[in-house]
C-alpha cells in the first residue's frame, strides 16, 4: 500500500505545525466497531412498531401469461389477515417505472416474468402472510415467452431504438486494414448479492403521510414513487435510510417497488407494514447486471494498433426498461476503454425478455462495453503473437488529436502512460511473464498466465442534471455537529469520508461529528448514490455548508480572540477543535466556545450546502459532448494458474495501481479497489445466473449462485494508490473510486487466456466463454489442445 498520499491542502498551508485533520489520512470505517458488535442497525433490525404487519408478495409463476381471474376471498377469511391488495386497490397510479413508465407495481391483466407481483398480503406475522398468500387464487393463461437475449433479438423484441456513436469512415477503414478480426462475445448477468436483502418499513402518519425506512440507494426516488402510488404530494412522504447491507446498484431503482408496497399496505390498513424479501425471493424478483451480446469487426495494423472498429451491442433489459437506456449508453461510452480508435461505429440496443428487469450494477454497462474491446485486443495479440500488454500500450489515448474520444470529449490528464510504466516495474511484469513461459514449457497439466489490464472510466452521471447534491450541517451550542448529506451509506465508506470533510472544514475532531441517517426531509431532491459520485458531489455540498457556518463564526471568533485588525479575520484557523490565528497559536479558544458565543450573539448555527458539477453536457442525439467531469484511471496485473484436468484456476497474485487523485481516506479507497476487483473476478469467473426453460431462476440462492469466497481472493494481493496525483476541481483533490476498479478484473480473463493458450501450439486462438467457470475453461483447454499436438500434452 502507498504511504500517505501527497496532500495539496498541506502544501498550501504556511504554518509550521501540521494541521490536525482527518483528511488524507487512513481511518477505520465510521461504523466499523458497530458492525463487529452487531450494534449497527439495518432496516430489519429496527424495533418493530406496535401493530406492525408483515407484507408478503403473491407473484407470477409464469414468465408470460394473461391473468384470467383473481380471488383472494379465502386468504382474506383467514384470521389475522388484514388485507390482500391488488392493482385496483392502489389509490394513486399503478406505476413504479423510474424513467420510462412501463412498470406497474402490481400486474393488472398480464404478467411478464416469473416473480412479478400480482398481489400483496398483509397479516399479523410473516408465517401467516405466507400461508394466506398460498390461498390467493390467480388463474393464468400461459403466453409465449422470450427467455434469452438472442431469442429476443431474433424475435425483434426491443425496449429501445438503436443508438449509435461514431467517428470517421469505419467501413472504408475496415476494408483497408491489413489485419482483420471479427466475431462475437457475450457477458453474463450478475446478481448483486448484497448481504442484506431488500427491506422496507412503512409507518402511517397523519393526513395520509407515511414515514419509510428503506434500504435504498435512492431515497428521493422512493419518496417520489411512493407519493405517486399513494396519490399524494411528496411532502407527505419521508424516506429514511439508516444504512444498507450492500447495494452495488441493486438498490438504486429496485428498492422502490417494495417500499411502495409497504407504504400502500400502511395506507390501507393504518398499521405499520414491513416488506422484507428473503434471499430466494430477492434473487428471483429483482434484476441483475445486464447480459450483453456483441458482434464486432476490427481492423488493425501488424503492430496491433487499432485502425477501425465496428461494434453492435445488444443488452438484455428484462421485462421493463428500468435504467437500461443509460446503462447501454455507458456501455457505448466505455467501449473504447483507454484506447484511441481513428474510425469507429458503436451501436447498441436493449432487448426485451420475459425475465426480471435488469438494472444498475457497479460499472453500469461500462464493464460490458470494455469487455468487448479487451476481447478484441486479446484476440489481436493472440493472432499477431504479441504480448497483450504491448498491444494495449500501443493503443492508448495520446496527444491531440489522438486524445479525443468517440463522443468528442478530450481525455485530459491521462495518467495511464505513467501508471503503465510504474506498474510494469513494480509488478515485475516482464520477468514474471518470462518465468511463466518457462514454467509452462515444463508443466504438462498446469499452466500459468499473466494479464495486464488498464482502465479509464468517466466520472459523472451521463444524465447531466443528476450531477447535483445537497447537505445540511447543524451545529449545536456545545460544539457538536450533526451532518446530513444526500448520499447513502452502503458500506462504501461515504459517511467516513463526509465526516472527514466536515471535521476538516470546521476544525473539530471526527468524534464531534455524527453522520445522520439519510432522510428526504433533511436533504431534499437528491440523486441516487450511484455512478461513483457519492463523495464528489456530496463532499462538495458538505464543504460548502461548513464554509457558510465557518464564515459566520469568524467575526465571533475575532471578538473572542480580541483581534484588532479586520483583515486578520480571514486568517483565523479552525483546527483540532480550536480556533486561533496561525501566527499566534498560543492564544486560542475552543470551537465550542466560539459556537456558544455565536448563539448568544444570535448567529445561525445551521446551514445547507449545494453543489452541481460544472461544465458538463451531452447531446445524446448527436452523440457528442462532455458527459464526464473527469476520468479515473487504474491498471492491474493478474497472474493465474489453470488446471488442465478440471478447468479450475487460482489467482496467484494481483498487483493494482489505481488513481484516486489525492485520496480523502486512503484506507477506505483501498477497500473499494480490492472489493471492486474481487467482485469483478466473480462476474467473470464463478458467478453464473441461470434460468430454466420456463424462465424460472435456477440460481436463486448461494447454494447454486457462487460469489467469490475467501479462498478465491489472490494469494498475494498488492494494491497501491497512485501518488502525487491531485485532481483539479474535485473535493480536496480526490477522485471517485466505487466503480472503476471493478473493470480491472478483466485482466484475469487475459491471464486465463494466456494460460489456456499454453495448452496448445504457439498462437493458439483461445475461445473462452464468460463467465470463465471451470467448465468454460476446460472446454477452452480442450479446444486449445485440439488445435495442435502440444509437445507436452497428451496425444
Amino acid at each position: 500500500m502507498s504511504t500517505l498520499p501527497f496532500s495539496p491542502d498541506a502544501a498550501r498551508g504556511q504554518q509550521s505545525e501540521p494541521t490536525p485533520t482527518p483528511l488524507h489520512a487512513p481511518a477505520p470505517h465510521e461504523s466499523g466497531l458497530k458492525h463487529t458488535s452487531g450494534e449497527a442497525l439495518y432496516v430489519d433490525d429496527l424495533p418493530s412498531p406496535p401493530g406492525m404487519l408483515a407484507g408478503h408478495l403473491v407473484t407470477s409463476p409464469h414468465a408470460h401469461a394473461r391473468i384470467l381471474r383473481r380471488d383472494a376471498s379465502r386468504a382474506r377469511a383467514l384470521p389475522g389477515v388484514h388485507a390482500v391488495l391488488f392493482a385496483e386497490d392502489i389509490p394513486g397510479e399503478n406505476q413504479v417505472g423510474p424513467v420510462i413508465h412501463d412498470e406497474p407495481l402490481m400486474a393488472e391483466d398480464e404478467v411478464h416474468f416469473q416473480g412479478q407481483t400480482v398481489a400483496v398480503v398483509l397479516a399479523e406475522n410473516a408465517a401467516l402472510a405466507r400461508r394466506a398468500a398460498a390461498l390467493v387464487e390467480v388463474e393464468y393463461e400461459s403466453l409465449p415467452a422470450l427467455l434469452t437475449l438472442k431469442a429476443a433479438v431474433e424475435a425483434g423484441a426491443f425496449l429501445t431504438t438503436p443508438h449509435s456513436i461514431g467517428r470517421g469512415e469505419p467501413d472504408a477503414a475496415l476494408a483497408a486494414a491489413p489485419v482483420r478480426l471479427s466475431g462475437e462475445c457475450m457477458t453474463g448477468a450478475q446478481d448483486h448479492f448484497y448481504l442484506e436483502t431488500q427491506a422496507s418499513l412503512a409507518v402511517p402518519g397523519e393526513d395520509g403521510a407515511v414515514h419509510l425506512w428503506s434500504s435504498t440507494q435512492h431515497p428521493s426516488e422512493v419518496q417520489a414513487i411512493v407519493a405517486h402510488v399513494l396519490g399524494t404530494g411528496r411532502h407527505q412522504v419521508v424516506v429514511e435510510v439508516p444504512r444498507m447491507g450492500g447495494g452495488f446498484g441493486g438498490k438504486e431503482t429496485q428498492a422502490a417497488p417494495f417500499a411502495a408496497l409497504a407504504a400502500l399496505g400502511a395506507r390501507v390498513t393504518g398499521r405499520p407494514v414491513k416488506v422484507w424479501l428473503n434471499r430466494d425471493q430477492d434473487m428471483a424478483f429483482t434484476g441483475k447486471r445486464h447480459p450483453f451480446w456483441a458482434r464486432y469487426s476490427a481492423g488493425l495494423d501488424p503492430s496491433g494498433r487499432l485502425l477501425a472498429l465496428e461494434v453492435e451491442l445488444f443488452s438484455d433489459g428484462g421485462w421493463s426498461t428500468d435504467l437500461s437506456h443509460a446503462i447501454l449508453d455507458r456501455a457505448l461510452f466505455h467501449l473504447d476503454n483507454a484506447y484511441f480508435v481513428p474510425a469507429l461505429r458503436f451501436t447498441g440496443r436493449v432487448a426485451r425478455t420475459n425475465l426480471p428487469s435488469n438494472t444498475a450494477f457497479r460499472g453500469f454497462g461500462g464493464p460490458q462495453g470494455m469487455f468487448v474491446m479487451e476481447e478484441v485486443l486479446n484476440r489481436a495479440a493472440e493472432l499477431l503473437g504479441l504480448d497483450p500488454a504491448v498491444v494495449r500500450e500501443r493503443n492508448y489515448y495520446g496527444e491531440a488529436p489522438h486524445n479525443l474520444t468517440h463522443y468528442g470529449q478530450a481525455v485530459e490528464g491521462n495518467r495511464l502512460p505513467r501508471i503503465h510504466t510504474e506498474l510494469m516495474a513494480s509488478s515485475n511484469y516482464a520477468r514474471r511473464r518470462a518465468e511463466i513461459e518457462a514454467f509452462n514449457a515444463s508443466s504438462r497439466w498446469t499452466k500459468r498466465g499473466i494479464g495486464f489490464q488498464p482502465v479509464k472510466f468517466g466520472i459523472s452521471f451521463t444524465t447531466s442534471f443528476l450531477n447535483q447534491a445537497g447537505a445540511l450541517v447543524v451545529v449545536y451550542t456545545d460544539g457538536s455537529v450533526q451532518l446530513n448529506h444526500g448520499g447513502t451509506e452502503m458500506g462504501q465508506g461515504l459517511h467516513t469520508k463526509m465526516r472527514a470533510v466536515c471535521a476538516h472544514e470546521l476544525g473539530v475532531p471526527t468524534e464531534r461529528v455524527r453522520v445522520m441517517n439519510t432522510a428526504t426531509d433533511k436533504v431534499p431532491n437528491t440523486s441516487a448514490t450511484a455512478a461513483s459520485s457519492g463523495s464528489d458531489l456530496n463532499g462538495m455540498a458538505v464543504k460548502q455548508a461548513c464554509e457558510v457556518i465557518r464564515e459566520r463564526l469568524r467575526p465571533v471568533a475575532g471578538r473572542l480572540l480580541q483581534l484588532e485588525r479586520g483583515g486578520e479575520l480571514d486568517s483565523i484557523a479552525f483546527a483540532g477543535g480550536r480556533v486561533f490565528l496561525p501566527a499566534r497559536p498560543e492564544r486560542s479558544v475552543t470551537f465550542a466556545e466560539v459556537v456558544h458565543a455565536a448563539y448568544l450573539a444570535q448567529v445561525s448555527l445551521s446551514a445547507t450546502g449545494y453543489y452541481r458539477t460544472p461544465d458538463i453536457s451531452y447531446d445524446r442525439v448527436a452523440g457528442r459532448g462532455k458527459p464526464f467531469h473527469y476520468y479515473a484511471f487504474g491498471a492491474a496485473v493478474v497472474e493465474v494458474e489453470v488446471s488442465g484436468l478440471t478447468g479450475e484456476h487460482r489467482v496467484r497474485r494481483v498487483d493494482i495501481l489505481h488513481d484516486v487523485g489525492t485520496s480523502l481516506v486512503p484506507s477506505i479507497d483501498r477497500g473499494q479497489v480490492e472489493g471492486a476487483f474481487i467482485q469483478g473476478v466473480g462476474w467473470l469467473t464463478c458467478e453464473e445466473v441461470l434460468f430454466d426453460a420456463k424462465g424460472r431462476l435456477v440460481t436463486h440462492s448461494p447454494d447454486t449462485y457462487k460469489i467469490p469466497a475467501v479462498g478465491d481472493a489472490p494469494e498475494d494481493f498488492r494494491v497501491a494508490l497512485l501518488e502525487r496525483a491531485p485532481q483539479d476541481s474535485s473535493i480536496h483533490g480526490s477522485k471517485a473510486v466505487g466503480e472503476p476498479p471493478f473493470m480491472l478484473a478483466i485482466g484475469a480473463v487475459t491471464a486465463l487466456r494466456h494460460a489456456v493458450a499454453a495448452f496448445g501450439p504457439p498462437r493458439t486462438p483461445v475461445d473462452l466463454a464468460s463467465p470463465a467457470t471451470p467448465e468454460a475453461i476446460l472446454r477452452a483447454v480442450e479446444m486449445a489442445r485440439a488445435a495442435g499436438a502440444s509437445p507436452n500434452g497428451p496425444a
Binding site: 434471499r279 478440471t646 475467501v710 476446460l778
Partner: protein
C-alpha cells in the same frame, strides 16, 4: 413436559411452547431481539448468522464451535451455551476480535460482519490455526460481498490462536456442557434426544417412521426453505457409542455421529485421503454441525464422503435392537436418496480397513467454486500395485456421476492385472463412458462431468508417479495439482 433449556450469552434460558423446528436464528431475532445476528440466506451458505456454541466435541472435550444459527433447531442446543455477537463486548470494551477486524477495515457494509466476527472468535480460541490455508478453511463459510477478503484474512491471521482470557476462555475452563436427553413437544411437533441406545430403540418401536437428525445441515433446509413442520425428529446426539473415532484392526472406526470437524482432525493424522476430501467438504460452520452419518444417510449422489470411503473399502455398520449387521459401503446406497437402513435401524459407524501394502489412495472434489460448494464431480481412488508394478486391486468411486455414489467397475476391471502405466490408464479411462452416463445441470454439463471424471483419474496416476509410495503428497488441496 420438558422445557428447552440452554444458556444464551451466559444467561440461563427456559422456553416452552415454541415449535421444536424454530431455528436458533429466528429465536434470536424474533423472540429475544438480539438483532446482531443476521439472516443472509437461511441455508448455511453465507455465514451471516454465525454464532458460537460451547459444547462437547466428539471426544467429550468442551469446545467453542461456530455454527450457522439458521440451521440449528432450538432443541439441538439443549444444555449448551450459545454465544451471539452481542456477547463479545465486555464491560463496555470491545473484544480483540472486534477491534482487530474494525482496525483492518474488515467490514464495509457490515452485514456479514457479525458472522465473520463469530467465525474469527472461534479461530481466536483454536490452537491449530498455524497456516494460511487453515485460516481460509476457517473463514470460507462467511461470504463478504464488499471487501474482497484481504483485510478479513489479515485480521483473522492476527487473532487466530490468541486465546485471550475472555468470558469464552472462562466458560471453556469452568463449564461442562454435556449432551442432554430430551423429550420435547409443542403443538403437533415432537423432538426426542434419547440418552441411551435402549431409549432410542424404545422411541423407534413406538415411532418407526421417526426421522433422525444430527446437525440439521440438510434437514433444516426443509424448514427454512420449504416451511416444513416435521412432526417428529429424533436426535442421536446424546449417544456416545456413535461418536467414536478410533483406530481399529489397523484401520479406523468412524462413528456416524462424530462431527466432521473432529473427523477432519482425526483424519489429518490417520487417513489422509479422507482429510483431503474434508478440506473442501464445506465450511467450518457446516463441518462443526454435519456428521459422517448424516452425509451418508441422505444418500445424495453428490454426498462427498461416500466416494472416498468406498474407495478405501469401508464397511457400513448398522445397528438395531436386534443387533449389528455390516455391508460394503457401496451396497448401503440402494438408489437415489435410498439406503439399506431398515425400520428401527441406525447407521452406527463406518469401518475403514487397514490399507494393503502398495496401496495408493486419494480423493478429489471439483465444483464451480473451490470452497463451500456442492460437487460437480467427486472421486475417491485406491489402487494397489504389487512389487512388479502390476495393479492387483482398483477401487474407483465417484460422486455426481450417477443416481448414487458408485464404483466405476468396468474401468476398475481394465486396470486390474495390468502394469500401472499411462498406457494402461488411458485404456481404462476409455471405459468410464461405459460406467457412467452423467446428467447436465447448473453445476456442470454431462460433457464436463464425463471429462473431469476421466481427467481426475489421469491426475491420480500422475500424482502417484510424482510422489513416494504409498502415500500421496502432503498438502491441503483436494484439486489436482500435478504438473
Amino acid at each position: 413436559m420438558e422445557r428447552l433449556r440452554f444458556f444464551l450469552n451466559d444467561k440461563p434460558v427456559e422456553e416452552t411452547g415454541l415449535s421444536p423446528t424454530t431455528t436458533l436464528l429466528r429465536y434470536l431475532r424474533d423472540r429475544v431481539h438480539l438483532t446482531g445476528t443476521k439472516e443472509g440466506c437461511a441455508e448455511g451458505d453465507c455465514g451471516a448468522c454465525t454464532v458460537v456454541v460451547l459444547e462437547q466435541d466428539s471426544q467429550g472435550t468442551p469446545a467453542l464451535r461456530s455454527v450457522n444459527s439458521c440451521l440449528v433447531l432450538l432443541p439441538m442446543v439443549q444444555g449448551k451455551r450459545v454465544y451471539t455477537v452481542e456477547a463479545l463486548k465486555e464491560g463496555g470494551k470491545y473484544h480483540v476480535v472486534q477491534e482487530t477486524l474494525a482496525r483492518e477495515l474488515g467490514s464495509q457494509c457490515g452485514y456479514c460482519t457479525p458472522g465473520i466476527t463469530m467465525a474469527m472468535l472461534e479461530a481466536c480460541h483454536r490452537r491449530d490455526m498455524d497456516e494460511p490455508w487453515k485460516l481460509d478453511a476457517q473463514m470460507c463459510g462467511n461470504l463478504c460481498r464488499c471487501t474482497g477478503y484481504r483485510p478479513i484474512r489479515e485480521a483473522a491471521g492476527q487473532v487466530a490462536g490468541l486465546r485471550p482470557q475472555d468470558r469464552f476462555a472462562r466458560a471453556l475452563a469452568e463449564t461442562r456442557p454435556e449432551p442432554m436427553a430430551l423429550a420435547y413437544e409443542a403443538g403437533a411437533q415432537r423432538f426426542f434426544t434419547p440418552g441411551s441406545l435402549d431409549a432410542l430403540w424404545d422411541v423407534l418401536d413406538k415411532h418407526p417412521d421417526a426421522r433422525f437428525v444430527m446437525g440439521g445441515t440438510d434437514l433444516s433446509l426443509e424448514v427454512t426453505k420449504r416451511y416444513a413442520e416435521p412432526p417428529l425428529l429424533v436426535s442421536l446426539e446424546a449417544l456416545p457409542e456413535l461418536h467414536v473415532l478410533e483406530p481399529r484392526a489397523g484401520g479406523h472406526r468412524l462413528g456416524a455421529t462424530a462431527w466432521l470437524t473432529d473427523l477432519e482432525d482425526y483424519a489429518r493424522v490417520a487417513c489422509r485421503p479422507l482429510e483431503r476430501m474434508l478440506r473442501y467438504f464445506g465450511s467450518r460452520q457446516i463441518k462443526n454441525r454435519a456428521t459422517l452419518g448424516g452425509n451418508l444417510c441422505t444418500a445424495s449422489p453428490i454426498g462427498d464422503m461416500a466416494p472416498v470411503l468406498i474407495s478405501l473399502g469401508a464397511e457400513a455398520v448398522l445397528r438395531s435392537r436386534a443387533g449389528e449387521r455390516r455391508m460394503p459401503l457401496e451396497d448401503f446406497f440402494q438408489g437415489y436418496r435410498r439406503t439399506a437402513l431398515g425400520r428401527g435401524e441406525v447407521l452406527a459407524c463406518v469401518d475403514v480397513p487397514a490399507q494393503p501394502e502398495g496401496a495408493r489412495a486419494t480423493a478429489y472434489k471439483v465444483s464451480k467454486r473451490r470452497e463451500l460448494d456442492i460437487s460437480a464431480v467427486s472421486a475417491g481412488f485406491r489402487v494397489v500395485v504389487d512389487g512388479e508394478g502390476k495393479v492387483t486391486e482398483a477401487r474407483l468411486a465417484y460422486g455426481g456421476m450417477a443416481a448414487t455414489p458408485a464404483r466405476a467397475r468396468r474401468t476398475e476391471a481394465a486396470l486390474v492385472g495390468q502394469p500401472w502405466t499411462e498406457a494402461t490408464l488411458e485404456a481404462a479411462v476409455a471405459r468410464l463412458d461405459e460406467d457412467f452416463k452423467p446428467l447436465s445441470d447448473h453445476r456442470g454439463s454431462a460433457w464436463y462431468r464425463a471429462q473431469v471424471a476421466k481427467n481426475l483419474l489421469r491426475g491420480f496416476f500422475h500424482e502417484t508417479l510424482s510422489t513416494p509410495v504409498p502415500r500421496l503428497a502432503e498438502g491441503h488441496s483436494a484439486t489436482v495439482q500435478v504438473r
